[in-house]
């Protein structure tokens, strides 16, 4: 290509800017992680040094393991996230199929109705949601969270998935119909496998906000046995404010699962965003 766009000085400046910002982005995470493996003395004496033989200590992790029920919290977060994602994907895909495949009266209005929720945050309705969950006895159960996150995720899921379903070839579906397949079979056996990439995008988009949410666990499910990891670490850290080892270890333990998920799914996530799913 031409020279105007690849001047070595420019390249250097660009890498410099990017490295500088990457350091800003990663520095806090790095500091938390390295200090969680140090003795209390070393944390304060040399906060930026890596742990060595002298300063290495797992005492923070021991406190966390003894005091907090992190495995339970992790399990709760897992159940809520996977459960909500499953329902968002299943129901979202079904509704998206109905809207994109069939022409019926009210199609357009139904689409607009479902799209309302993309811009309006569900938190506005919290007071009435809590009242409803209390009335139905769902408060302090994981179902309350799953239902809320499903409702929250559906609008964008329907929007993205119906865009993709419009691209599935009509010939394929009609061939299925001629072979005598029911509409349900066509949807589950022919269409769903074809929109799998879009489903993965929707899943990854929804996963992070659900996993990280603090508001609804705090309000709908604050009981010990249904605490999510985010709420659990918030409460734990609040109690152990002065125990720096424990706080740093709890933070690291909260960072790790997300970081692992990110390493696994980052490609999918970035491809999803950059393929213009949210345009």
């Amino acid at each position: 290509m031409n020279k105007a766009r690849t001047n070595p000085f420019n390249t250097l400046a660009m890498h410099g800017a990017l490295i500088f910002y990457t350091l800003i982005a990663l520095f806090p995470v790095f500091v938390i992680l390295i200090n969680s493996f140090k003795t209390r003395k070393a944390i304060f004496r040399e906060p930026l040094a890596l742990p060595d033989a002298d300063s290495f200590s797992m005492v923070g992790y021991q406190t966390v393991m003894k005091q907090g029920d992190f495995f339970l919290y992790f399990q709760n977060s897992m159940i809520v996230t996977v459960g909500s994602l499953f329902l968002v994907l299943l129901f979202g895909a079904m509704a998206a199929y109905a809207l994109s495949e069939y022409r019926f009266r009210g199609n357009m209005i139904m689409g607009l109705y479902l799209a309302l929720g993309i811009m309006i945050p569900i938190r506005i309705g919290t007071v009435a949601i809590l009242e409803m969950m209390v009335a139905t006895g769902l408060v302090n159960t994981l179902w309350a969270l799953i239902l809320v996150y499903t409702a929250q995720g559906l609008p964008l899921a329907v929007f993205i998935l119906s865009e993709f379903m419009r691209q599935v070839s009509d010939d394929l579906k009609n061939a299925g119909r001629i072979d005598g397949l029911s509409e349900y079979t066509i949807f589950f056996r022919l269409v769903l496998p074809l929109v799998r990439p879009a489903m993965a995008t929707v899943a990854v988009f929804n996963m992070i906000p659900i996993w990280n949410d603090l508001w609804f666990p705090l309000i709908l499910a604050p009981a010990e046995e249904v605490k999510t990891l985010t709420l659990g670490s918030q409460v734990f850290i609040g109690q152990f404010v002065t125990d720096w080892n424990a706080v740093l270890s709890a933070l690291s333990m909260a960072i790790l699962p997300v970081l692992i998920l990110y390493v696994i799914f980052s490609r999918q996530l970035i491809r999803g965003i950059t393929s213009g799913a949210v345009k």
Binding site: M1, A4, R5, N10, M14, H15, L18, T22, L26, P28, V29, V31, I32, F44, P47, L48, F91, M94, A98, Y102, F104, Y113, L114, L116, G117, I120, R123, I124, G125, T126, V127, A128, E131, M132, L147, V148, T150, A151, L154, E183, I208, N212, D213, L214, T230, S233, I237, L248, L251, I255, V258, L259, L261, Y262, S266, L269, I273, T274, G276, K279
Partner: protein, 304 residues
């Protein structure tokens, strides 16, 4: 031929999503707006019309808190617009440069803060900025700026801006990604045509790319607006429900939580909480309408 038959499968496909969405999102939303018109008198729910809103806007005890929270919320939003979005656009512009090496690596690394929970982000920064631990002061010392250090999160005049910047730090990945995607979708021919006319480098960015990505900047602005006006988690995680010091970091989300749930000496009041939710709803609706009818329709979209 099929006109008389009801196509049940359409209803079956739509029903679960529509039911859950209506029951858990739309119905509570309107129910909350309805609850804002009631009040509790002697353990009974009484219809009071717009009285709660009158209290919220004009009663000195409430209105002071409300306008404080609203003002803080606007400042929170302005910091995001002035810092987060320009940095995001700049990073995206660099990343989208053709033949930049390690672009994927930078992109993934810069996005990491965005995936972490507010609890982690809030506490991590609280520890780093803490004068007890001394990471921030000693780093400033290393570049000879130690005199600039102050316990930012503990000072009324700095706390809100500091929190807004922490939030910017966390979410800069989102505008970066969206703008990056928009920049990649600009066809090479347009840029080459510009080059033929002598428009390269920075001027290609300002004169060709920026006008083409304006719609994406509009989307980012409205996403930022909606996100900021129902923000809660970061302030709660870093400063607690009282949004200290002395309510200087109080925004609508924390104000609603305190009012609705009660905190320490204050009793919870679902009806005033609903009134605040109603105000938030109105603000978000106004913002979205300004975007949809005022900005989006006037923006020129180029057919690429």
């Amino acid at each position: 031929m099929h006109r008389a038959r009801i196509r049940w499968h359409i209803a079956v496909f739509l029903a679960p999503a529509v039911l859950i969405y209506s029951a858990v999102m739309i119905f509570p939303l309107f129910n909350t707006l309805r609850l804002a018109l009631y009040s509790k008198v002697d353990q009974e729910r009484v219809f009071v019309g717009l009285q709660n809103f009158q209290t919220l806007f004009f009663d000195p005890i409430w209105s002071e808190q409300f306008w404080n929270a609203l003002g803080n919320n606007f400042w929170f939003f302005i910091v995001h617009m002035l810092v987060q979005n320009p940095i995001g656009i700049a990073l995206a512009a660099i990343l989208s440069h053709p033949r930049l090496r390690f672009a994927a690596l930078y992109r993934s690394a810069i996005f990491i803060p965005t995936i972490m929970s507010f609890v982690i982000v809030g506490f991590a920064w609280k520890l780093i900025l803490s004068p007890i631990w001394g990471i921030a002061p000693s780093m400033l010392d290393a570049v000879g700026l130690k005199s600039l250090f102050a316990p930012w999160l503990g000072k009324e005049e700095y706390a809100l801006t500091t929190l807004a910047l922490i939030s910017v730090w966390q979410f800069v990945g989102i505008p970066m990604m969206l703008i990056y995607a928009a920049l990649l979708s600009i066809p090479e021919e347009i840029l080459e045509a510009g080059e033929v006319d002598g428009i390269t480098g920075a001027s290609a960015f300002w004169k060709i790319k920026l006008p083409l990505i304006l719609p994406s900047i509009g989307i980012i602005s409205i996403l930022t607006f909606v996100g900021n006006f129902n923000a809660f988690d970061l302030i709660y995680a870093a400063q607690g429900a009282l949004a200290g010091p002395d309510f200087s970091t109080d925004i609508l989300g924390t104000f609603m939580y305190r009012t609705f749930f009660g905190f320490q000496l204050q009793l919870g009041d679902p009806h005033m909480g609903s009134a605040i939710a109603g105000a938030m709803f109105a603000i978000i609706l106004i913002g979205v309408c300004i975007y949809l009818f005022g900005i989006q329709t006037r923006m020129r979209r180029y057919q690429l």
